[in-house]
Symmetry: C2
Subunit: 210 residues, 2 copies
């Protein structure tokens, strides 16, 4: 059984969305200072690193992250590679041989090279979905869409793709590191923190080879 | 397939370890205020709610949470109920009919009643392990120990039990809500955040009935 940890490591140096606060990790208790134990304090946006977007992120009053059933994020998933794409469009998806009845789909693009290289900069020219791709996935009955950069939408126009997916109740996973994973079928376990009333949550995401 | 979410909901009102900062959740972007999306900012100890302790928590320089292999926290687990115990001792464990080759064990005690009732107070008289129980579990080859309150050790003496377990490389899960779960065999998926160099991490924990 092959297990792939497709989660970004949370660190103060990791790239975060422009305008969001940086990750801050602080030792509030330290054995080196004579205290009994080591304790780290965390401060971060709910949309840091590998995380999920709940519908409430862009649809006010819609489902919050603590209400997303864990079984939605556990189960069969398909990784689709688009190594040369600059944007994932409906046209690209229609000819991509995505298996019938795919309910969870993760897109591996050249974005994953940023993670493989340990790049600390935020890039605005990442590969994302077009609005027509989002509409196409909703029509196909997809329930979970995962991407390998910090947004499912292009940088300069984040609203339409989020609204189409989240408005249809699709759960979005952003910030996956798919650099070690090949195209194909897996079992996904993506477990976000259960944060009361929140619009998203950092998560740990794992693929198991089938 | 029965799925049990055994995770505490992270909220500002939840009980936290005395002396640790409270959980702080803040909306830093809000659709109600005319912004494009809802974004929550989190601030909490790594040892908040349902979380894991990595060896580095009490053993300086030992394994940090980002280095704990996810497969350690995914797989067969046994839930053992001790509804009447005030402390879990080696003597109690020896007569408890724990199945041979149990590698992951979760203890359900009267602590879970606090979570079922939504109790917001921190209780110092929770049920925990005695040092001889920790030694017994290490000798049995247990690799993951889970408890249903915020520490595996008694309140007034946290060091020995943590040092015995973490010193042997056992991963500790604290703050489980086992109120809906019966004694028996399950598959555990406990996925902590992958926090660089940290002594622990909040986690989402799920049991699947086998």
């Amino acid at each position: 059984m092959n297990i792939y940890d497709i989660t970004l490591t949370i660190a103060g140096t990791m790239p975060t969305w422009p305008g969001d606060p940086r990750v801050h990790l602080e030792k509030i208790s330290s054995i080196s200072n004579g205290e009994e134990s080591n304790i780290t304090q965390l401060s971060m946006s709910a949309h840091t690193g590998t995380h999920i977007d709940a519908p409430h992120h862009f649809i006010n009053g819609a489902m919050t992250v603590d209400k997303v059933p864990v079984k939605t994020l556990m189960g069969r998933a398909y990784v689709k590679c688009f190594p040369n794409a600059d944007i994932i469009t409906a046209e690209l998806l229609k000819t991509a041989d995505i298996p019938p009845r795919t309910r969870r789909i993760l897109f591996k693009t050249k974005n994953s090279d940023f993670w493989a290289k340990g790049d600390k900069d935020f890039h605005t020219d990442y590969v994302a979905l077009s609005p027509d791709a989002a509409t196409y996935l909703v029509k196909r009955g997809v329930k979970v869409v995962g991407v390998d950069y910090l947004s499912v939408s292009p940088y300069k126009n984040t609203k339409p793709v989020h609204q189409i997916l989240l408005g249809a109740g699709v759960i979005v996973i952003e910030g996956l590191d798919l650099s070690e994973v090949s195209q194909g079928r897996y079992t996904l376990y993506c477990l976000p923190l259960k944060i009361s009333g929140a619009d998203g949550a950092p998560a740990r995401a794992v693929l198991v080879g089938v």
